[in-house]
Symmetry: C2
Subunit: 409 residues, 2 copies
């Protein structure tokens, strides 16, 4: 009666993971409560928003993550539970307690997240009732994974999912993830969420290290409008059900395999967020190579990809290398443009526009033609070291400005 | 820059298939135009609604399918283009012509479909402009497949997808599909759509035969409220890019493999539709075995699963076998209940409630407990022949009645 296992591969493909996505009444006629449940206690790690204003569920989840163990991720959409004070905090707590009671685990094993409108009173009763009614429905059926992937969405126009398998210690390990993005046209609902589950056996502290390591090159390398939300969260559970010998050291060859696969998954989920800006018309990959360090390269990528002038040029199909160099000069790191090579192109080919700081002879119309494509790349080689960074962003469109100029916050 | 190929498997995983899903302005802030494009002309087959009132895109697509060849499936959501008369027909035609012109193929190679509100004027200009703007964006990137899966939805709460691979003639063949359902709470938007792509090489006439064969045991065996919509359509494209020797006879062993895989995919996509009734609380599988013929078994399944009394009993957790037997007696086929065994249960176990027409001794409370589950099964054995049928339905809930009693049509 269930969905054939191989037809859809998602969260519930991972051993011991059950999901549900319910409509509990926050959003009209849409699923708005996602439940991700591991049959056994899992090593867990989270990274949270860097915004100074922190949503109530984040405050609670930080406490619950002190031991880096969890068994449930609970996320509602439609109400961010941010700037809601004590009422909101008690609501987040009630949500975690209700889930924990239903499955008979300590409330500290529940991670809670919210996304939606900021500053609205938290509809605690609806959500707690929804949790009670739906915790028992968690299922390992693939469609239940789809329900969960859809239940975390707000203005997103498609469900963002990923799945992979790999070998560790002779065992096949499954990893799956979901994310929600942006909604460029609603920046105050622009929560970034990423939830990843895996059946690898790994020490909590090592999982925490891997997540923090990978977030630098994935979720931290996408920019929509440079803002972090009050509710941003990436959480990962590893429940050990793949049956590998538990990874307890960074020197374990399995650690590196896992870390790289986790990074691949997180980059995938982060890029899907950039692909989902209705106000945006282009997906742009930014690369900086030959920098003094990876950190400096990533810093340059972030500053360039977040420059309104660069983003507007991408929209306007303007091969304006001056703006890119200008943005780089504002990044707060030493930057000598006289050594810099710069390339602009589409997904397939790039054309050099700057050669050691001097304009390369290029066919301006050819570059303009490339810039018509919906996938672009900007590549900068600083020629001073081995540092590398890559990140992703959207263009800045007239639609974006139009929508945001009339949206009442 | 693209989505790692193995992370998401969907329409675009199939060789030669490119997709896109765009927002062209019919639905507020949602993708509402899906494009499925095959790089090469494909064998194609469609089944259309049995409703006497036929939407304009269906009329056009029937003409375009006379040669069972196609290269594009175009579907808009938000406007059904039904009961729109000549204005609507010209709109459907303009949509097909615009797509054909953009990719340089005859308009007869385009299948068009629509879903949404019935009787609204068709927004031809918006859609034609959207087609012109987006045909060139079709991509083999996996996220483009997700865009398409989401762009055909109306009141659906999750995107419905499936993927599989199998061997024919020593070649690996890929098949993927998407569907959209029901929206039980909006019966006049309850279009059922299924779009399937496959890279098998097969004669058009054989593909047509396989589709018509499989629809009897899949899309025709689900019921939400017994109505067919003006816009129902299932379409399948096989573009031959798997490289197998073309299947030209039913006796080719590859034909049977393909036919069975197609059936599996169509059952999967049909069942996902049943899983997505917000007004519904239960998914019920109905089986009839031991019938005089498969056809009679399927007829009984359809009548039982569509009985409001049976559906209400499923909602009310009432092990009321009398209603099931009563519905069977109304099916217009010979039915002698004195030979009938009947079983009621959840996804895992069934309990016999009728033994050769006589009430079996069963624990009523145990059955009531089973009926709490969200997945139920009803199994009837007629003990008179070898005919078998299976189908799927939802329960009839107070929510369903409430929503539909206030929805202005």
């Amino acid at each position: 009666m269930n969905t054939p296992k191989d037809m859809i591969r998602n969260l519930t493909t991972v051993r011991g993971i059950k999901c549900w996505g319910a409509h509990v009444g926050i959003k009209s006629m849409r699923r708005d409560l996602a439940i991700i449940y591991s049959e056994v206690p899992a090593s867990a790690a989270c990274v949270f928003t860097q915004n100074e204003v922190i949503a109530e569920p984040i405050k609670l989840s930080k406490k619950h993550m002190e031991d880096n163990m969890a068994q449930v991720i609970l996320c509602n959409a439609g109400n961010a539970n941010a700037c809601t004070g004590e009422q909101g905090y008690q609501g987040a707590l009630a949500m975690a307690e209700a889930a924990a009671a239903e499955v008979g685990i300590p409330k500290e094993m529940v991670i809670v997240a919210s996304t939606g409108l900021i500053g609205e009173p938290f509809p605690t009763e609806d959500i707690v009732n929804g949790v009670k009614e739906n915790m028992g429905k968690v299922s390992s059926d693939a469609k239940a994974g789809s329900f969960a992937a859809n239940a975390i969405l707000t203005t997103d126009t498609f469900a963002k999912e990923g799945f992979m398998d790999f070998e560790v210690d002779g065992k096949t390990v499954y990893m799956a993830g979901i994310s929600k993005g942006s909604g460029m046209i609603h920046p105050n609902m622009a929560t970034m969420l990423g939830f990843i589950v895996c059946d690898l056996a790994i020490e909590p502290a090592l999982l925490d290290k891997a997540l923090k390591d990978c977030v630098r090159t994935s979720f931290n390398m996408i920019t929509v409008d440079g803002d972090t939300s009050t509710n941003d969260m990436v959480a990962v559970l590893c429940n050990g059900m793949a049956g590998n010998e538990k990874i307890t050291s960074e020197d374990d060859p399995g650690y590196k395999v896992f870390r790289n696969k986790l990074e691949e998954m997180m980059i995938h989920l982060a890029k899907l967020i950039i692909s989902d800006g209705e106000g945006a018309s282009k997906f742009v990959e930014y690369q900086v190579n030959g920098a003094p360090s990876d950190e400096i390269a990533r810093r340059l990528v972030r500053v360039i990809s977040d420059s309104t002038l660069v983003k507007a040029a991408m929209f306007g199909r303007d091969p304006n290398w001056g703006r890119i160099v200008c943005a780089a000069g504002n990044a707060g790191v030493p930057f000598d443009y006289s050594t810099v090579d710069l390339y602009i192109g589409d997904a397939e080919q790039v054309i050099q526009v700057l050669d050691k700081g001097k304009p390369a002879s290029f066919d301006r119309n050819q570059v303009k033609r490339l810039l018509r494509e919906s996938h672009l790349q900007i590549r900068m080689d600083m020629n001073v070291g081995d540092g590398q960074g890559v990140g992703w962003g959207a263009d800045l469109t007239t639609d974006y400005v139009m929508f945001n100029s009339v949206y009442t916050t």
